[in-house]
Symmetry: C2
Subunit: 194 residues, 2 copies
């Protein structure tokens, strides 16, 4: 048996990574198994030695990311911080996950509707995440940490910005993640901070 213990990435993981890159460029539906195989330097049929189906690749990409966000939010919720502190941690969370998985984030944002069995599970995770986010904002309003504006609009504004980081981070290699984090903290938070 070929030893994988020293290897960083299995062949399967490599396929999923390359698939995510193609999905970002053209979207899940427009990427064919022959496109993916071509990018891997093999024939389409050979992919099936490693993966079960095209659908499976998408499921893996999206669900693993969604669960990562869920786990991140869980940790933030369980920490004893005020509203602003939690918001800053959410920004950090999005920057970290997005920068580590630029390609996958595109699928998470744009191709979740092509999930099948996993679709309702994904929607549950997303909905719970937004509920937590909204809760943090509402607490902040009650405790007068943030301005008393429609929490739905505040969440929408912050969250869509964070969800789009994957589009933007790769274009700005000169700006490091520390600077980005600092700038976003100011722009997104100070704005709603009393």
């Amino acid at each position: 048996m070929k030893s994988r213990y020293l290897k960083l990435e299995t062949r399967k993981e490599e396929i999923i990574r390359v698939a995510a890159k193609l999905f970002k460029e053209k979207g899940y539906s427009a990427v064919t198994m022959r496109d993916l195989a071509g990018e891997m330097g093999i024939k389409a049929a050979s992919l099936y030695n490693h993966i079960n189906s095209k659908q499976d690749i998408l499921d893996t990409i999206i669900i693993s990311l969604a669960e990562e966000f869920t786990e991140g939010m869980r940790l933030i919720q369980s920490s004893k911080q005020n509203c602003i502190g939690k918001l800053k941690q959410i920004i950090q969370l999005h920057i970290r996950i997005s920068s580590q998985n630029i390609y996958g984030m595109a699928s998470l944002n744009n191709d979740w509707m092509h999930l099948k069995e996993k679709r309702s599970y994904y929607k549950k995770l997303r909905s719970d995440y937004e509920d937590d986010f909204r809760g943090i904002l509402k607490d902040g309003i009650v405790s007068s940490e943030i301005v008393d504006l429609n929490p739905e609009v505040m969440m929408f504004s912050i969250l869509t910005t964070l969800r789009s980081l994957y589009i933007w981070i790769p274009k700005k290699e000169d700006l490091n993640l520390e600077e980005l984090s600092s700038a976003l903290n100011q722009i997104l938070i100070e704005g709603i901070n009393k």
Copy 2:
């Protein structure tokens, strides 16, 4: 000849409108001409009495919207206002166009990569738009109207929020556009306003 003078919408326009709705739900690539025909209550081949190709539908949806944004920015630029005034008008512009064409905005955001001959033209329009936007922010920094933060991050934050309005507006029928406009003005502008 059947009189169209009194009609609000030609059959072609109806097809394009329905197509945009389907494109929003599943993305351009995943929508088949049979899907579209089914939604119109006719057979796929019948669509071709009205439209030239599937590609043509996408081109029409995206380019007309992109040109609408370009024209809007042109008017804002030619008006004699300060930075903040222009930013508020940009917010208005996005709310107006997005609310009038919820479905088309999805294609503009997610399916532009499936343009063919029109792709470079689209990218030119978008790039020019962003240059104008950036210019307004830079002027605002020089004139001390807005805080001296990375204009790229500021533009990214505001613009991604505005570009995602189409996702969000239809879910919030209780919130009228006046309220939305007012809330966004506060959240997006006051935040960067000194």
